[in-house]
Amino acid sequence: MDETPPKPASPAEGSGSYGPFAHLTAPNVLVYRSVMRAFLVAKERFAVHLRPEDVQAALPVGIRPVELDGVVKALDSLVGWGNLRADPDTGRVTAVEDFYRKRFIYQLTREGEAAEQALSAYDEALGRRGALQAVALHDIVTQLRALLVLAAEDEPDPAKTHLALDGLVSRFAALADNARAFMGSLQRTIDLHDVGEEVFLAYKDQLIQYLERFIQDLITLGARIARLITELEDGGRIQPLLRAAAAREAADATPQEAAYAEQAAAERWAERWTGLAAWFLSRDGRESQSRLLRGRALGAIPQLLAVVRALNERRAGRSDRSADFRTLARWFAEAPDDGARHQLWRVAFGLYPARHLSVDAETLAARSARPEAASTPWADAEPLRISPQLRRTGSYERRGKPRKVEDRQEARRLLAETAAKQAAETAAARARLAATGSTRLSGLGELDPVSFRLFLRLLGDALATWRPGTTHTTAASSDGSMEIRLSAVPDGSTAEIRTPHGTFRGPDHAIEIVDLTAGAEWSDGR
């Protein structure tokens, strides 16, 4: 019976060597890692020693060696690298062969445990999708409130202040770290880099829900945090707190460092605070981190949906369409002739138009009058009636020289100018008439020709509504630009309006002219 335990490779050489990591590059790395995991799990249950049978039972089915010898070999290799320690097993046995086999019990070495810790940290960091912590936001609010309370005191308690600030900073650091990781993993997901379709689809719904919740928190809590930060900064209330925390930190410094320790600590705290403020407040023309994050998170949702659509499109195809097109490219290249290629194009893409012979109305009418039997050969049937003109010349219409296109640019310009001038004159006249306000016809006095023409038209529009017995009327001009209100006056006097071309006379009326366009402009301008 051989009682010599397998020798660790070189445990004494100690710290410089990374033997406990050697199994990562060994061929059976999965077995080794599972074995180590079994030991870790056992340790959590405070079991120190494991027998090979225990290890074998703990291994996952896929990689469990069938024979116990396989496990023993793996265990011994790990002992060789220094991850495990083997001690002779002194327990009772019940079978003869067990007695003859060299038996050991195994336990983790310090090196092995450290290596496992490092590896799990590695796995965790890699596997971390980055989660946005809504809880962290709540904590930050709580800590800021506490700081506000402290700031209100005359002599803030340094210990409490330091604790509150410390808590704030650690929560914030965690939040910022996670945000960074989150952005990264989001982008990986959206780009479908290293992410399988199934993984994505499983992850998608959770992610969208999560994003929605976080965005909500970020909007409501972010605003509250920003307000608390501004409140603390108002009147420099935060500075004494930062100084107090710095002083408390510096109290532990060695005598040599004491001179500048407080200064350095104060600077550090000031910087942390600025970082925190910059995260939640947009200032100096730079957008706050939280706003950026919100934008990214919001933008991620449509991007995710686009990925979903792309995946669905990929699935909807009965085959990979990209491969289909590549296959077609090859077929086109291999086709025997152009005709074959045209056939392939028609069959594969189905984009060809229907093609039919035509028939004219005259032929149709003749046919319905004298139907041909279905058994008539084409040669014996009435042929299509073709216009003699078309037969002779190849066109339906008589050809003539097309008329030269006249250049009407100049005339058009003149017309436009005249129109603009007239519009301006009318507008001016309208303004003049409207400026008279409420008056009598006899009060209009003298009018220039344009105003007079406009006035006459307006008067005509008003009088058109005038019936026998009417004493008052309101009418809009036919172009809708003006309104005239006309009322008869009882005194029966006569009004005179003088124009350069003569004098206009008629029974006097009270008159009010309103420029509707001016009103419209005015109300639009409001």
């Binding site: 659509r309 792309a310 909807a316 195809g317 009965r318 085959s319 990979d320 369409r321 990209s322 289909d324 097109f325 590549r326 296959t327 077609l328 490219a329 077929w331 086109f332 290249a333 291999e334 086709a335 025997p336 152009d338 005709g339 290629r341 045209h342 056939q343 392939l344 194009w345 069959v347 594969a348 893409f349 189905g350 984009l351 060809y352 229907a354 093609r355 039919h356 012979l357 035509s358 028939v359 004219d360 149709l364 003749a366 041909e372 279905a374 008539t376 050969p377 084409w378 040669a379 049937a381 042929p383 009636r385 073709i386 003699p388 078309l390 037969r391 002779r392 010349t393 190849g394 066109s395």
Partner: protein, 414 residues
């Protein structure tokens, strides 16, 4: 007397449905924006009715979403080479081997690509794709360094633009061809996704023979009941009547012919109801002729020099008993030029233009199923007799009762 409102509405509905169906038959891919917007709206309005009709009678799937309407046409006759992809410019030149290959490679790249692409980037990706060993073995080589290669790619991109797969955002193709610039496009994934009309993805087809490949692309599921077999016959015949100018009985197999003989009336009536095409039934076959002269890409008769030459040669061929050699046709064109040349375009009157004129006329007539090309020459097919002229003595005697018609048709003064 006034027409009841319900009748007017019915009439409107039928007219709209007909317009929509014709639009789809002419352009199986309609876009909601651009020149086809009105037709798209009609199709969308009547989508469910059209979908049901096409599914029942042709087995073509109609897909309509907010941006596109796509009728997944599968031809009943696979061996038709008269519908090439054409350049999206005035010249409408048929695609060449290189362009077809480039087109498919570009589509493969777009399929895997992002929502936007620049022409230069697309070109790089196509060059990478073209390095595929099968393509190299087939003698295809792309570097896109040369101007004519870039022209080919530009032609491909213009076709994709006209189909609506790409939408130009900035720049233009000419700048890329001349090497002075680049162009940026949005990729319309929905249009791209519906571009292939085949029953099976080509990448799943293993056949090596050309005909087998085409057949597998369009193969239906196994037909294991009479009902399914009849449905397949109905669909196949309706497809041909909807797509092709003339359906000759001698191209059908026995089962198809038997079914058509029994169901001819139903089949053509159903098509007439939907599209307004009228059946011209003759001893040799059926032509669904179009009173609106609109549901076609090749017109006959057509105005213009080329249309004129085609018409006159059709008349000449209709009078011929057997195959006519190309030389004979060229002689005929020269004669015609002396007679009608005054109405022709200048280039058509130049000596030496006959060859090209004959070629384009024969291509047209063949596309319309009016002639067949054989090694011996151009053979008239029965439906060509539609274009026979009244000069034939037989015709004059046959149509005596019809009054002045023959005289009217004797157009050319001899």
């Amino acid at each position: 007397m006034t027409t009841p409102l319900a009748e007017v509405l019915d009439g409107q509905h039928a007219a709209e449905l007909r317009k929509a169906a014709r639009a789809l038959l002419k352009h199986p891919l309609l876009l909601a924006r651009g020149p086809s917007a009105d037709e798209f709206r009609l199709v969308r309005r009547h989508a469910s009715e059209l979908r049901a009709w096409f599914d029942r009678n042709t087995g073509w799937a109609l897909q309509v979403d907010s941006g596109t309407a796509r009728l997944g046409k599968i031809p009943a006759r696979l061996g038709d080479a008269t519908h090439p992809a054409r350049e999206a410019t005035r010249s409408a030149a048929p695609f060449t081997r290189r362009r077809y290959v480039l087109l498919c490679l570009a589509l493969a790249c777009l399929e895997r690509g992002e929502a936007q692409i620049a022409l230069g980037r697309l070109a790089d990706q196509v060059v990478l794709e073209a390095a595929d060993s099968h393509l190299v073995a087939a003698g295809i080589e792309f570097t896109l360094d040369r101007r004519d290669e870039r022209l080919d790619l530009a032609a491909v991109v213009r076709l994709l633009l006209s189909l609506g797969v790409l939408r130009r955002v900035a720049g233009d193709e000419d700048a890329y061809v001349s090497g002075a610039g680049d162009a940026l496009y949005d990729v319309e994934r929905r249009v791209l996704g519906g571009l292939l009309a085949t029953r099976r993805g080509p990448s799943t087809v293993r056949a090596a023979e050309w005909e087998e490949r085409l057949a597998e692309l369009t193969a239906e599921t196994a037909l294991d009941s009479d009902e399914l077999r009849f449905r397949a016959l109905r669909r196949s015949l309706t497809r041909r009547l909807l797509d092709d100018p003339v359906l000759y009985y001698d191209e059908l197999d026995d089962a198809e012919l038997a079914y058509l003989t029994r169901q001819r009336g139903f089949l053509t009536a159903r098509i007439t109801e939907l599209t307004g095409l009228v059946a011209e039934v003759r001893a040799e076959g059926i032509a669904m002729v179009d009173p609106d002269d609109d549901l076609t890409d090749v017109r006959m008769p057509e105005s213009g020099t080329r249309g004129h030459v085609t018409l006159l040669l059709a008349e000449h061929l209709a009078a011929a008993a057997g195959p006519v050699g190309t030389a004979e046709l060229m002689r005929r064109v020269a004669e015609l030029a002396a007679e009608h040349g005054g109405f022709w375009s200048k280039s058509a009157r130049e000596p030496g233009a006959e060859g090209e004129l004959v070629e384009q006329a024969v291509v047209r007539l063949a596309a319309l199923g009016l002639v067949a090309r054989t090694p011996e020459g151009v053979v008239p097919r029965p439906a060509l007799a539609r274009y026979a002229v009244g000069e034939a003595v037989v015709l004059v005697s046959r149509t005596e009762g019809a009054g002045g018609v023959p005289a009217q048709r004797k157009a050319s003064p001899r």
